[in-house]
């Protein structure tokens, strides 16, 4: 069952969530971001989805970087955040062709070296939703979500289970739940 979403502010907020998760998937956290999360409104908003950011200090940054590495970078038994790996068991599957077609339509700021990186896909989604919030839907968000975002729910679930820090456990779980929610929005399973 699809949830009705026609409120432009909803679209913007969803775009923001994609932006947040994009940032978390693409890179390790830096001190600056951890400090941002300590701001009351951020802390609040995060707490509501049961995410508790650690103290902003270099030790936290290091611990999170190690956890990020073991989840998404490797070197072994990790959870490759690439759609091709998830769907065809190798890097650079045919899904990359499709992803490139979308990147031709949506120009992103991030340029991770691998184009079907979930973080990049989230950024595309963020941009598209913002666009739709102002100009209405042309089916782009729907198409992109089905083709390149819905797969991430399972990946994020696994990534969350692999995480050793409470932060990544909860925040990745929240991302998985968010994508689950988005699936309802787009009426896809």
């Amino acid at each position: 069952m699809a949830i009705r979403v026609d409120d432009a502010s909803d679209l913007k907020a969803r775009a923001g969530l994609y932006e947040l998760y994009s940032r978390l998937l693409l890179e390790e956290l830096d001190l600056e971001t951890l400090q941002l999360f300590q701001q009351e409104r951020w802390k609040d908003a995060l707490r509501e989805i049961e995410v508790h950011p650690p103290e902003p200090n270099p030790v936290s940054v290091e611990i999170l970087a190690i956890d990020y590495c073991s989840i998404f970078i490797g070197p072994k038994d990790y959870c490759p955040p690439y759609q091709s790996v998830w769907q065809s068991g190798q890097l650079q599957g045919q899904v990359v062709d499709s992803m490139r077609d979308f990147l031709d339509v949506v120009q992103t700021v991030s340029r991770p070296p691998i184009e079907d990186h979930a973080g990049l896909q989230f950024e595309v989604m963020a941009q598209v939703l913002q666009h739709e919030s102002e100009f209405g839907s042309q089916g782009l968000a729907d198409s992109f979500f089905r083709n390149h975002v819905s797969w991430t729910e399972a990946m994020l679930g696994r990534a969350s289970a692999m995480a050793e820090t409470g932060f990544y456990q909860t925040v990745l779980l929240s991302a998985a739940r968010f994508i689950g929610c988005e699936k309802q929005v787009f009426g896809s399973s």
């Binding site: 941002l36 190798q90 992103t108 700021v109 070296p113 963020a126 941009q127 289970a161 739940r177």
Partner: protein, 941 residues
Amino acid sequence: MSDSSRRKFLKLGALSLGAFGLSGCSRNTKPNGAEKNGSEKAAVQESSQDGELPFGVDIEKWKKGRGKPYEIGGQKMPGVCELPGPEAKRNWPPRDKYKDAKKVPGMCQLCSTICGIIGYVKDGRVIKVEGNPNDPNSRGKLCARGQASLNHLYHPERLLYPMKRVGQRGEGKWKRISWDEALTEIAGKLKAIRDRGEHEEFAFHQGRQRSKDAIKRFLDAFGTKTQLSHRSLCSGNRRAANLAYLWESDWDLNDCENSKYILNFGSNAFEAHQGHIPFANRIQNGRFQNGAKMVTFDVRLSNTAGNSDEWFSPFPGTDGAVALGMCHWILDQEKYDREFMETWTNVSIEELKEHLNPHTPEWAEKVSGIAAGDIKRIALEFAAAAPAATTMCNRGSSAHLNGFYNDRAIHLLNALVGSVGKKGGWCWSPWGGLDPVVKTPKMPSSAKTWSVLEDPPEYPLANVWRRMRVGEIIYLYLLQGRAKLQAYMTYNLDSPLTWPEESLTKDVLTNEELINFHVCINCFYNETAHYADIVLPWTTFLERWDLDARASYNLRPYVGIRTPMVEPLGESRDIRDFFPELARKIGGGMEEAYDYGSTEDYMKYWAQNVPENPETGKSGLNRLLDEGAWENQDNQPFYEPYNVELSAEELEGAEIDDQGIITREGIGIGIRLGDRSVRGFKTPSRKFEIRSLFVNQVSQNEDCSEMIRKSGVTKTKNRPEQHKGHEVDVDEMPIWLQMEEHENLADNELIMTSFKWNVHNHGRTMNLKWLAEIVHSNPAWMNPATAEKFGLADGDWIELTSYHSKMLEKTSPNLTHGVRDDSGRVVVSKMRVPIVTMPGIHPSAIAMSNSCGHWQYTRVAKAEKSSSENGHLVGSDGETYRDADWERNMWWEDLSNGDPAKWKQNTGNGWNQNRLMPIAPDPVTGQQAFHSTVVKIEKVG
């Protein structure tokens, strides 16, 4: 999701929008991610201002192309049955797969044979790799390994980013770092070593490398000669045996395509061998187009042995005795080539008869178990087919403690029948690599340091003609404090798996006192990377530049090219790409070795002498990029080079000594034969040296400068001081040496032999799923009669106890370490494995392959579907995880949990045979004796 939790999400989302500089509204702020290139960024901003591309979305473009590329599912077709399901193949095989695909040449590097390849590239991806028919050596053929290139390039667990160790070394904890951070840290360490003048304490350790120039440039610019290799684990004895006869080449190239008789001692060219596919193809042509017969002597029935016309299984390490028995018989029956022997060798028939007098076929039968009648018959068949008759040999005969002599004895057969250098005979070429017509930009001058790791004094023939090095001793020598390493850079190396004494290798690699700083350059996280401090993601051979070639079976040189077929994946980089940057960071003049411009400039310069193809008008690099390889077909095959007459120009100012040796300025250039002045062999006697005074004198640390001058091979080392105190008595003549440990084997002892599969390449291919599917495990081969004796049947488990060499205990006591058990032998290690009874193995031998038993190197190599630490089952969720292969279909996962009773045949990732191998260098050359080890067998359970 409930409405309230949805609202919570939206609240966070509202905060996040624009907070990270990723989405459209903050486009004008500094991007948090990687920088776009300037022009694109400008374009985005400009159109943003126009309002044409708000949020970076070109909705008009989307509307135009919409539905076309993204449509999933297909049209419905009428039919008598239910329609194909949602995952139906539809367009399969894709009719247009190769339409508009670009062909890019390259060279395989999944083994050392480096066959020419073509990558079919479409939409920036390599969709298929095939052989390149223009490659003169490999002729467009490609084996299973090369065909699995796609697994290598697009492996889901490839290293994509530099990483730095954060826990204890070997603990497996890492964090990602940038290339700049990585290179800065490495440069800091290297600069300090350089500043202290301790250059030799930076070692570069290669597994297999095909970028010789790039490595040499870096190490020479740095100033270290401590370049470690695996040559002694591979081919040291065969090379030395060749050099003793020829001096100018360490590599016999058997001209099998033109042969009538191929006599193979322990070479498995159909599955392994440095010449592998090019060689195997020519052998089959020789047999099935030229009518050659092929006879193989090998302890184990390899595919080469199994496909030969006859197979004989000698007792391990007795190949040389069989060969001497044949030589004896050829002499006895007067079937030798008198003219060749008298003209071109440095012993007389009488001398040789006397030398071989004890080595009768009957003696050889006693030693080897091969019937004297067969030895005689084959000897005469071989002689009758000459000169189109050749021996071939490789690690089966040479990776023994008597391997140098085995190969000396085998090669002698060719001299006796006069097939040396003849068409269809036993040939060689002086071109072990690229056609010398191509030249790199100027190289820095050679480093002058010395390290015991690279040049141990104990092995007289290891580094005398050329640097073969003795790789297997390095970890032991480090442990013994004979050297230390402040920085250790490993490259395409998997030493814990491929070096003998696995546990010692691991101990030393873990020890930060012995190896201060370890940088690992590799495509995958392997067992070596596990013990590194920094791991650098290397490009695959489909993503980097090289000019490359190997000793060609066409007996003339060629030039091949490796070129990036696609952009390097992730942040992987080749040494050609980052060595210049590293050198600049180290500074101190190192950067001067890199003033040639870009890598492409370098390649252009290097390839510039490749002449124009009149048909295409292309030359140099462009020609190579077009064709993939170039061979100068005006060069005649290197037949009978010794018979080539010297020109008047060459003879100008030459002198002739009383032995007829022609010298110019004291340097040998040829020999006088009757009224002819010919080139001869490039040995001190200018003849094929059946008697090598040189090997004996070098081993006794005597001055050999005169001999070296006469050979003309002046880069040969004369340095008696270097080996002082390490005299070894190397026999001048081809002999056979009885290994002490093989005498009087106890009833429960066998000799372990190892082998390579046709789908694997030591420690480098078990991560490739299409290969691992075919071979992933390695139960020990045992003769059915032997198994019966031990009360064993197929699939039963045994405990193997391996022993150090008795012979080396005496000759090289520094190598032996461990505890002596009641057998009187010193134990190396123990391991439990299942056995498979095979009719094709000597009853006194037990065979286990290498390449198996990884404990790192991706889940495919480990045959593990899921991460054991987290207990999370990857691929178990069939609905969301659609990959049909990678893990879900890995049907060979071992579910026994280490319980032999539950182990199922053809499952698991096998066992590392090198766990059992002692460090065992042949005292003559340092060749690791992989096939001489005595093991004790005990039934488990």
